[in-house]
Amino acid sequence: MMNKGKMMEGVKKYTMIIVLVLVTAFFAWGTQGKILLPQNVSNLIAQNAYVFVLASGMLLCILTGGNIDLSVGSVVCFVGAVGAVLMENKGMNTFAAIVVMLLVGLLIGAWQGFWIAFVRIPPFITTLAGMLVFRGLSNVVLEGMTVSLSSETFVKVFGGGANCYVPDLFGMEGFNLTCMIAGTFACVLYVLLQMKNRMAKVRKGYETESMVSMLVKTALICAVILLFTLRLSQYRGIPTALIWVLIVILVYAYITSNTTIGRYFYAVGGNEKATKLSGINTNKVYFWAYLNMGFLSALAGMLTIARMTSAQPTYGTNYEMDAIGSCFIGGASAYGGTGTIPGVIVGAVLMGVINLGMSIMGVDQNIQRVVKGLVLLAAVIFDVVSKRGGKLIAND
């Protein structure tokens, strides 16, 4: 009984990883291995950088009780538009423009957060309004036109343009040694951290994972990192956008799992009344979630205009759906209270692989939407039904 339960839990925990492996295998077969070519692996990151950034912020909103932010696509566009106009038309210096863009993002986050957290306007309504408002304002700022970016520093720093890779220090032909070294270094760091953690646990006499399962897990993760960096090395090295993605992921993984504020997001989503009665200001927790979402939308806005080297009133369309989808596919609960950054990464990669795979296979755009929609629905059905103990139909 116990063992069966444990196994069920294990299967549940790793379902999405298993699905990811199967889906990747399917596309590897469907595209005759093209999806695993170095260039495609590299593109997977560069094209989807914004998804990782937005999904990290979206996770915090969703944790507070399944609340989503529909405005992020429009905010991405608006922040990008403001930045582009400032840099190009007003001649503002790049650094100042970056600061302004971040402030705009924070301001938007504070605006929406205020209504949601303190006035308790439902997030769906508040952010639906934001979606319309900031899309409209983007058009106003850009006067309906495309503004091209000429600031090379900006484009380079935020991973856009023709050469959007971290420069190689060694200059080997056809192989980016810097990237491979970085990958190896990451593996070593990971192994050391795991060992340190385990030793501390053993020393204090805490329960530890079985040695075998830990070794297998570590070996698998290192293998994935090494294969991934090998692929990148065979192309043009580390995409600059990957650096941003890594920073965001690491910071938010840390916040959600190791800080008190991170704990509050889970607590509010798990049981708001109990959280309140534990002396935690729940209004502030909602406010932080949306303030932070504004901040990360600004960062995603910068990544977007840098990648396109321009700002257009249509940028960021449906970005909110990618972010929301990644969270739910990655195991965040539609009711809030559960979900992790690693889960969201898996969700985002899965969405990215499906996008890329279908594009390479030449599947019609509309069919792609159908598939993505069904995958999202399936993931949430899985979450809801498994929470109900496997019963498909709810009690009447």
């Binding site: 190791n258 504020i261 607590a267 002396g279 935690i280």
Partner: protein, 550 residues
């Protein structure tokens, strides 16, 4: 009860018939019933047993209701009255309980409420089930609409509704919105709604709990009028004078079992007699001994505490309460549900309930103003909720996270959580309170009620309070776990902490407390040292005050 003196076959004797008598023949048989040859017994619930995980809510309960009578069901909170009625009405469907429901001569297997309503069994719950922004008429036929599915007949709806409103003596248009009429009238709408479903057996759960004297009287008279017309009713109530007024028979339920059924015509149904039936049980060895120590000083004192309802701000929920608890003392607050005990506790605890709170609060002899839960925790006050799942724990989170939630500063530095320390703390409390769980990484939702309660206590003990208010600390947990919780309470007071225990279980109050306050309708109506208290005395205090208001 022993009515051996009555001749067998007397219409009033069937309740006490020896088991081996030919019951079937008598009760369901031939021409004994007065109503045109119908059987006399309308409803019989036989050997009903209903278990919830860890608790036996009903244990072999038997209930017989005659046609055309008003049958009262009495018992303490949690005795199982509502559970029994939920079994009857199909809220707990057939198969989730053991035993038989015989209604109108046939065994019933209700799978859902609709099934029981089709047979004319209609239950009116204590919390009214009306939609505020719909009209009276719409509410009355909700789920039972007039006309066809895609073409509702509003004329018939409102016409029929008006007729029924006349029957229950309510002078309102059926097109009035529910939110615009008072709670007394809403209760009448509920009854009219039941009539609209062709009710033959009306079940009322505390129908007068929120009504004033005049409305209560009108409602009871209405029931008597229906009785004249042949309606059968079951009424659950705590107000014994009302029961004496309307009921023909009274069944007492205690701890999930039927204790006795009394007949107005043949038995003594004085209040004392009913109270004795409700509370009489032995108290041996259910409570751990405590060595009395005196510490000196008062842990908490409340003066003139008044609280108004958060939504209906003209309604007083707590009215001028004075109470104190010494260091090292356990003080009980007894009372019925809705007496204002939880509201009192939560309003003290950083104003987490109510509006317009006035009065003085002293902790450790010093006046404090607690404006948030954080303030209260910082001033070393803790409130352990009665609703551990709803207000106390995060079921989807592990034990360790729940344990530290109210005092995260103690396991973190500069907002960064020391997870090792958190684990140690949780593990420490797991051992101290003997919480049964594989590890503290286990989600709280997977624990039994007793163990959840221990985690909740651990959470508040870790907040390191001097004064703990425990609200129904043993509700819904088994006897063994209760004993362990009592031991923890003893430990706390042995350390010089003050404990206020709110409990609806009188034996527990008597077994654990040094002093007992009795609360009713927002007021403290009595204070007794435990030596002078007994279940009968406390119950009498509670009920006698209720009666004045009824």
């Amino acid at each position: 009860m022993n009515n051996a003196g009555l001749p067998h076959g007397s219409p009033f004797d069937i309740w006490n018939m020896p088991e081996n008598h030919k019951r079937q023949e008598l009760e369901y048989g031939f021409g004994i019933g007065r109503d045109l040859g119908l059987a006399k017994i309308l409803l019989e619930m036989k050997n009903i047993t209903k278990e919830f995980p860890g608790v036996k809510a009903l244990d072999n309960v038997n209930l017989k209701v005659e046609r055309g009578e008003i049958h009262a069901l009495v018992g303490e909170n949690g005795a199982g009255k509502s559970t029994l009625m939920n079994v009857l009405s199909g809220i707990y469907p057939y198969g989730t309980y053991k035993g038989d429901i015989v209604y109108d001569g046939g065994v019933c297997k209700f799978a859902k409420i609709k099934d029981s309503e089709e047979k004319g069994i209609v239950i009116i719950h204590q919390e009214l089930a009306l939609v505020p922004y719909m009209t009276i008429g719409e509410n009355m036929f909700l789920g039972n609409e007039r006309g066809r599915k895609f073409a509702l007949n509003w004329n018939e709806t409102y016409g029929r509704a008006d007729e029924l409103l006349k029957t229950v003596g309510l002078q309102e248009s059926s097109r009035t919105l529910i939110k615009d009429i008072g709670v007394g009238k809403q209760q009448l709408v509920e009854i009219a709604k039941a009539l609209a479903k062709n009710a033959r057996l009306l079940i009322l759960d505390e129908p007068t709990a929120s009504l004033n004297e005049a409305d209560s009287k009108a409602l009871l008279d209405l029931l008597l009028k229906f009785k004249e017309q042949g309606m059968t009713s079951i009424i659950i109530s705590h107000k014994l004078n009302e029961i004496a007024y309307v009921a023909d028979k009274i069944t007492v339920i205690r701890d999930g079992s039927t204790i006795e059924t009394m007949d107005k015509k043949t038995d003594d149904i004085s209040e004392d007699r009913i109270i004795k039936g409700m509370v009489g049980r032995d108290l041996t060895n259910r409570f751990p001994k405590r060595d009395k120590k005196t510490f000196g000083g008062i842990g908490m004192e409340v003066k003139d505490w008044t609280v108004y309802h958060p939504l209906y701000s003209e309604r007083k929920v707590v009215d001028g309460v004075n109470m104190k608890v010494k260091k090292g003392e356990v003080v009980g607050i007894a009372g019925l549900m809705g007496a204002g005990r939880t509201e009192l506790a939560m309003s003290i605890f950083g104003k987490s309930y109510g509006t317009n709170i006035s009065g003085k609060l002293f902790l450790n002899g010093e006046e404090v103003h607690l404006n948030s839960v954080r303030d209260a925790i910082d001033k070393k006050l803790a409130y352990v909720t009665e609703d551990r799942k709803g207000n106390g724990l995060i079921l989807s989170n592990p034990i360790k996270i729940n344990t530290t939630l109210a005092n995260m500063d103690a396991v973190s530095r500069h907002t960064i959580i020391d997870k090792d320390k958190e684990y140690e703390v949780a593990e420490d409390y797991r051992q101290k309170l003997r919480t049964k769980c594989p590890t503290v990484e286990q989600n709280v939702g997977n624990l039994s009620g007793g163990n959840q309660q221990k985690v909740l206590l651990a959470k508040w003990m870790f907040a390191d309070p001097d004064v703990l208010i425990l609200d129904e600390p043993t509700r819904g947990i088994d006897v063994g776990a209760k004993y362990e919780i009592y031991c923890i309470i003893n430990q706390l007071v042995a350390e010089g902490k003050s404990v206020v225990m709110i409990s609806s279980e009188l034996p527990e109050v008597l077994g654990m407390c040094d002093r007992i306050y009795i609360m009713n309708e927002g007021r403290m109506v009595g204070e007794l040292p435990v030596e002078e208290a007994s279940q009968e005395i406390i119950m009498a205090h509670i009920l006698k005050v209720s009666n004045k208001g009824a």
